[in-house]
């Protein structure tokens, strides 16, 4: 089976834009708190007049994509140099545009619905805007399947690369946080303070953020995607994760997640949940994949903020433990797990 490597990582999160901002936040244990995802950096990559019509989710996704390309040593205009595909995974989709379209209808009447808002409210527009801004003409797939999103997106990317449909895939996973969603989360019992994975009560807070990856054949500086498995039972996930040095749980403060992940972390020596750094995201496993890649590249187990640790050593820094394989676990649904293993020899 042809190895698929992670060649570039780009993140646009509450802790800042770029993989360096994520590394600093992980190393210094900074919490996302209520800070917004800064999108100003997009102009350094794409001139403003070519991104004027993009809504916040499309902007965030494009920024993360450009950052991942730069991390892989590519300028935006070099993205289309080789056959490249785009996979965009989002659970909640473009909410700003959806609700501003409704605002128009309700506020100004049926005939006054904005075509900009309607266009942007179609879920694959972030991916289309990436193709326009970066001139990418390969295959495209936008996945919106809640808990299954991350695994489904990765499986598509793996297939295209292994079957030679493309040489590279720009994989972007992310969420936009609208006022409506904040209200919904509050009504569901989401907390005001910081996200605490496995906390007794619900500390889930709707937060936006994107993680982007440049995937390609052969090992990358971050290692390779050793396996991506979906629909695993709890026992199967625990067994698959057993062989890795570090297990990351995409726990993000939901009230019931202790029972969901209990068997997984009980059988594991080193466990981390970094949602306090980037906030609660339904595509959390996507950001955890970025953290896994960083841990492998830096040969480091990041301590993360106080709430990030369940079990394991608080040691971090270059001379810390030497992870060779990191597993990322996410809950797809009742009794179903996604398990992604990233390895770097």
């Amino acid at each position: 089976m042809k190895p698929v490597g992670i060649h570039g990582v780009g993140t646009a999160l509450a802790c800042g834009a770029g993989v360096d901002a994520l590394r600093i936040a992980l190393r210094e244990g900074r919490e996302a708190g209520r800070s917004e995802v800064g999108l100003e950096g997009l102009e350094d990559f794409i001139p403003a007049n070519r991104t004027r019509r993009l809504d916040p989710l499309a902007r965030m996704a494009l920024l993360a994509a450009c950052l991942s390309l730069r991390d892989a040593g590519l300028r935006p205009d070099e993205a289309s140099g080789r056959p490249t595909g785009i996979v965009f995974g989002t659970a909640l989709g473009p909410q700003e545009s959806t609700f501003s379209f409704l605002e128009d209808i309700i506020g100004s009447g049926d005939a006054c619905a904005s075509s900009f808002a309607f266009t942007n409210s179609v879920h694959n527009l972030p991916a289309s805007n990436m193709s326009l801004a970066l001139g990418i003409r390969g295959p495209m797939r936008t996945v919106t399947a809640f808990g299954h999103t991350t695994a489904a997106a990765l499986l598509s990317a793996l297939h295209w690369i292994r079957e030679g449909v493309v040489e590279r895939v720009l994989l972007v996973l992310g969420e936009e946080c609208s006022a409506v969603m904040e209200y919904v989360v509050r009504r569901f019992g989401g907390g005001e303070g910081n996200v605490r994975p496995f906390a007794p009560g619900c500390t889930y807070r709707s937060r936006g953020g994107c993680a982007a990856f440049v995937l390609g054949g052969g090992d990358g500086p971050y290692g390779r995607l050793a396996s991506v498995e979906a629909g695993l039972s709890e026992a199967e996930a625990a067994e698959r994760a057993a062989g890795s040095d570090l297990l990351l749980c995409a726990a993000a403060g939901r009230a019931d997640e202790f029972n969901l992940y209990e068997r997984l972390w009980a059988s594991h020596r080193l466990v981390g949940a970094y949602s306090p750094v980037y906030g609660s995201l339904p595509t959390g496993p996507g950001v955890d994949l970025a953290v896994a890649a960083l841990s492998l590249r830096e040969r480091t187990v990041f301590a993360g903020p106080g709430g990030a640790w369940i079990k394991g050593s608080a040691v971090s820094g270059a001379e810390g433990l030497l992870p060779g394989a990191v597993a990322v676990a996410g809950v797809e649904g009742p009794g179903r797990f996604t398990l992604i293993r990233v390895e770097r020899r």
């Binding site: 007049n49 019509r53 005939a111 075509s115 900009f116």
Partner: protein, 87 residues
Amino acid sequence: MDLKSELKELIIRELKLKNVVAEDIEDQGPLFGSESKLGLDSLDAVELVVVVQKKFGVDIGDRNTANVAFASIDALADYITKNRPGS
């Protein structure tokens, strides 16, 4: 503020134009097409139809009417003055 400058502000704000100010838009200059430096396309034209409807209650029924009304700022101002409800 006269109708023409209002239209220019409107176009810049509603079509989310960047690095463009009202003074850059000439009254007779073409709004669309390759000669125009505003870089507007068919989606901007469709949105302008909605904007004109929302702000002035003037309906631009179909593409042919749009081609005529959107020829330039002057053309648009004339069309609106002629078709504005109560004018």
